[in-house]
């Protein structure tokens, strides 16, 4: 359903909702995956992101997102300088991710406090984004709702157990997705919630001994 405020908005730093605002949102979501500003990042740009990225400030927007700036934050313009000043090591490369990848796609490999994440994300137009792969797991993350992501040993009843915990904490589930690379291997779970899940829900999930790690991601748009 189209909302008036989708049309008169968003407030954003120009020049392009896909190449600037969307890129910033990808950075913000990826930042959430490592729980804060990464110290190191390798940013590979594909397709139109590689071709017209600089003119559209895609590099600044991605770096700004990793730094925690939102799409309407004027500091995006100076994000590369800020990154250098803070001693962060972000490197940009051009690449071809795959022939059928969306034209506005990037792969980010980020590192913070010993934690590493590799993510593929695309900017779909009008500022909407989708992360399609995290650490090799196929995912579908849009950042339009508060989201819990976790990696757990693949075992029976895990989905029900986690749904149960969230129900106890009165967190409303919007969607839940499970993906795994191989049967019996680890599973990646993406849980979108109607409201921010809160620290106690996260702690309860983290407490399960078959859960390897868990993060809660703020919504980054729409």
């Amino acid at each position: 359903m189209v909302s008036l405020l989708d049309i008169i908005g968003p407030v954003m730093v120009g020049p392009s909702s896909s190449h600037t605002a969307g890129a910033c949102r990808i950075g913000l979501l990826v930042r959430g995956l490592v729980g804060g500003t990464p110290e190191k990042a390798r940013i590979e740009l594909h397709g139109s992101f590689a071709r017209t990225g600089e003119g559209h400030g895609t590099d600044k927007a991605l770096a700004g997102g990793l730094l925690g700036f939102r799409p309407d934050d004027e500091r995006l313009r100076d994000a590369l300088d800020i990154m250098e000043r803070e001693g962060l090591d972000y490197q940009f490369e051009k690449t071809t991710i795959s022939d059928d990848a969306h034209p506005n796609t990037c792969r980010l490999t980020v590192e913070r406090a010993g934690q590493i994440a590799t993510v593929i994300g695309s900017s779909l137009g009008a500022g909407r984004i989708r992360l399609s792969e995290i650490d090799g797991y196929p995912v579908e993350l849009t950042g339009t709702l508060p989201t819990i992501v976790l990696v757990a040993a693949d075992q029976k009843g895990s989905v029900a157990r986690i749904a149960g915990i969230l129900a106890e904490q009165s967190v409303n589930l919007a969607t839940m997705r499970l993906s795994r690379i191989e049967r019996g291997g680890d599973a990646f779970m993406t849980i979108e919630c109607d409201e921010p899940p809160g620290d106690s829900a996260r702690a309860a999930i983290e407490h399960l001994d078959w859960v390897k790690w868990v993060r809660t991601l703020d919504k980054v748009g729409g």
Binding site: L5, D6, M12
Partner: protein, 294 residues
Amino acid sequence: MYKSLADAIRDAEASGRTLSATALALESKDQGRTVEDIRGALRRALEVMRGAVERGLEGDLRSASGLVGGDALLVARSSAGPMSNTLFSDVLARALAVQEVNAAMGVIVAAPTAGGAGVLPAVLTGLARNRGIGDEAVIDALATAGLIGAVVAERASLSGAEGGCQAETGAAAGMAAGAATEMLGGTPTQVGHAVSLTMQGTLGLVCDPLGGLVELPCVFRNATGSALALAGIEMALAGITFAIPVDEVIDVMGEIGRNMDVRYRETAGGGLAATPTGRRLAKERLVQIRTAPR
């Protein structure tokens, strides 16, 4: 939101309300937010729009390629033209100003998109200043613009990559014309004609930015789009009716967009982008992302 402007106009006239009141009531129901809350968000949008107009008129901004910037001030200061120092030239200057801010990574309101973000602020704030219209009426006009844009999004497209520039600056001009017509006291039916009279003039407009960047012709297309909106407002308030119903005008814009060659849909493969000079400038000025040494 409504999927047909004819339906919205019919509901507004039947209840004796404006289109903005009709749209705000439905938005409130759709989104579960109060009308005051929605108007608050629109008020913030108006503040950002005004900020962008002012910032651009300072005249010192340049885009990443250096191809655009500083022209809003030229128009604002000029007394050489037949329309200098009138509402018309003020609206042109405002449209250029917002797009110059956008191209220089300043803050704008994407309305309906970043590429077409200059038209609505230019027409509404220019007219408000000229006629001494208060903010509340401008905020209502933004709701009407949102309604028109939502119908275009639903029936056609608001993306240059999908529908050419008729879907971006063309839609923006239709939104601005309809919104301003209500702000100036036009009836809901006249709002519909203002949209049609404006958008018929942008049908077929291609999206052909140099190097694929939202700079050239985008900045100027916001100015000419605003001029078309002023023409549409003038004709609609004079009582001109357009024989093709507004929903059909919007539908055909979508159809033309779908049939448009991909070269004319933001790919820089055709139009101004593919002229000899367009290609040369894109090559010379397109700055490249600093990549790590291999």
